[in-house]
């Protein structure tokens, strides 16, 4: 495998353990890249992808990222990929793409550089890879620093105390529109075929019916004429009369006269054997 180089301790604070093998944390990887077969998968899982692995390889060998020894790196990389294939691990496509890219770079470096007509631009095929590695390295570090910031739920909690609520029941309000809507629903259900209108007069009749009933609740026997005493005008008289007639027809009220020409009384309907 690769050449030996100075021992490389991954910065413990910066990187989580590279792997756990048999419960043991691997912070320092074997420097000559000895990979126990069973640990290979575990180790590769510790990387977030080919860029991550590549950065690690570069660090591990103390290589200047801006001056990557492409051949050596490529060789090591291909070895990884080979090892993965031999172990029949799920080979992530990204690693293959990276391998292809490294090989391409290497081959281009072996070719004589074109005496570029476009001046200056020394087309270093490594430039793009270096740019990507640097950008990934920055984001990896940014992620680490973000994770170090105190976080709601993990490092501190929101404050929220109970609210003492007095038990004041809020009552629903009803609008005329809602009543109207309710009525429409009733009609719809009743399969209305003809339209009638509740006239204002009929409503006042039904209102008066309720009033008369209320009066007769408190006063069992009321003079017929007294029922009209509150009346405030001809229209009201008519309404009261209609209401009384309706009440009688609905058998809710009965009109009684003990003898001819005696005063006429009204009272709540008492059933058949009334007189």
């Amino acid at each position: 495998m690769p050449r030996t180089s100075a021992p490389v301790a991954l910065d413990a604070a910066q990187a989580p353990p590279v792997a756990r093998v048999l419960g043991e944390e691997w912070r320092d990887l074997p420097q000559d890249l000895y990979i126990p077969p069973d640990a290979l998968e575990v180790i590769l899982e510790a990387f977030e992808g080919p860029l991550d692995l590549l950065l690690w390889l570069i660090r591990r060998n103390n290589i200047n990222v801006l001056d990557i020894p492409m051949a050596e790196l490529t060789r090591q990389y291909i070895e990884y990929v080979e090892a993965m294939r031999r172990r029949r691990l799920e080979l992530a496509a990204e690693y293959l793409v990276m391998a292809a890219m490294l090989i391409e770079i290497k081959s281009r470096m072996l070719l004589p550089r074109p005496q570029s007509v476009e001046e200056g631009e020394a087309l270093d095929p490594r430039a793009e890879l270096v740019r990507r590695l640097l950008e990934y390295e920055r984001m990896r570090e940014a992620a680490r620093r973000l994770d170090c910031l105190p976080q709601l739920g993990r490092d501190f909690l929101p404050v929220g105390v109970a609210v003492e609520r007095p038990a004041i029941a809020r009552l629903p309000q009803v609008s005329l529109a809602e009543l109207l809507a309710a009525w429409h629903v009733i009609l719809k259900r009743a399969h209305m075929s003809r339209h009638h209108r509740v006239s204002r007069q009929e409503l006042s009749v039904r209102d008066q019916m309720s009033r008369i009933l209320k009066t007769l609740q408190s006063e069992p026997l009321v003079l017929f004429s007294d029922l009209f005493s509150r009346a405030g005008g001809r229209a009201e008289l008519v309404v009261t009369l209609l209401a009384l007639l309706e009440l009688v027809r609905e058998r809710l009220v009965e009109i009684i006269q003990a003898t001819p020409f005696a005063p006429i009384h009204a009272r709540l309907y008492h059933g058949e054997p009334a007189h």
Partner: protein, 200 residues
């Protein structure tokens, strides 16, 4: 003296109070003493815990939030006087009556006096006692009599309160509505009611 074993040893009652305050302010539910002791890994003497709580309660007296001891334990609560301010933040949606209540109310308003049977016949479904009670408790309907049929069912009518709550002076100010022809609207125990005016 405090008795505890902590990573950063507490040095004073003030520390204990500060920690208790934070713990209690983050909880909506009252915390029993046993839970509070957990915070100090059960290493704080119960007397000291009580003393810290008492002092903390005193320190919060007169503020809009107070520390109270209830059956389930200790908790911070807002004082009821401040409720109006809190309500402005989250105006509660006004409660609404169910469709069944509204329909029943409409029937009573427009067809009064009616029995429950009448309402059921018109609505086509049973009317629960709860619906009637809701409207009675609201003071919007009342019993104005009984129909002299078996069971003597109550006759319901709307009240003056109903009118004033809806800003009406008289029932006749209710909007006129299309109505089912008499022959279409089912009736129950009531003798047939004629349309008093034919306005179709």
């Amino acid at each position: 003296m405090l008795v505890y074993t902590m990573v950063n040893p507490l040095t004073s009652l003030e520390d204990v109070k500060r920690i208790l305050e934070a713990v209690l302010l983050t909880q909506r539910e009252p915390l029993p003493l046993s839970e509070l002791r957990k915070v100090f890994e059960d290493a704080l003497h119960p007397d000291l815990l009580r003393r810290a709580l008492d002092e903390l309660r005193k320190a919060w007296e007169g503020r809009a939030v107070e520390l109270v001891q209830v059956a389930e334990g200790w908790c911070f609560r807002t004082r009821p006087e401040y409720q109006p301010y809190l309500d402005r933040l989250h105006p509660e949606k006004p409660p609404r009556y169910s469709r069944a209540v509204l329909e029943t109310l409409a029937i009573i308003a427009y067809r009064q006096p009616v029995t429950r049977g009448d309402i059921e016949a018109i609505r086509g479904v049973a009317v629960s006692s709860q619906i009637i009670r809701t409207l009675e408790e609201r003071g919007w309907i009342e019993t104005v009599g009984h129909r002299e049929v078996p069971g003597r069912p109550s006759l319901y009518a709307t009240t003056k309160r109903f009118l004033s709550d809806l800003n009406l002076r008289a029932l006749s100010e209710l909007p006129p509505l299309p109505e089912v022809a008499q022959s279409e609207l089912p009736t129950s125990d009531a003798p047939e009611i004629q349309q008093t005016t034919a306005s179709a």
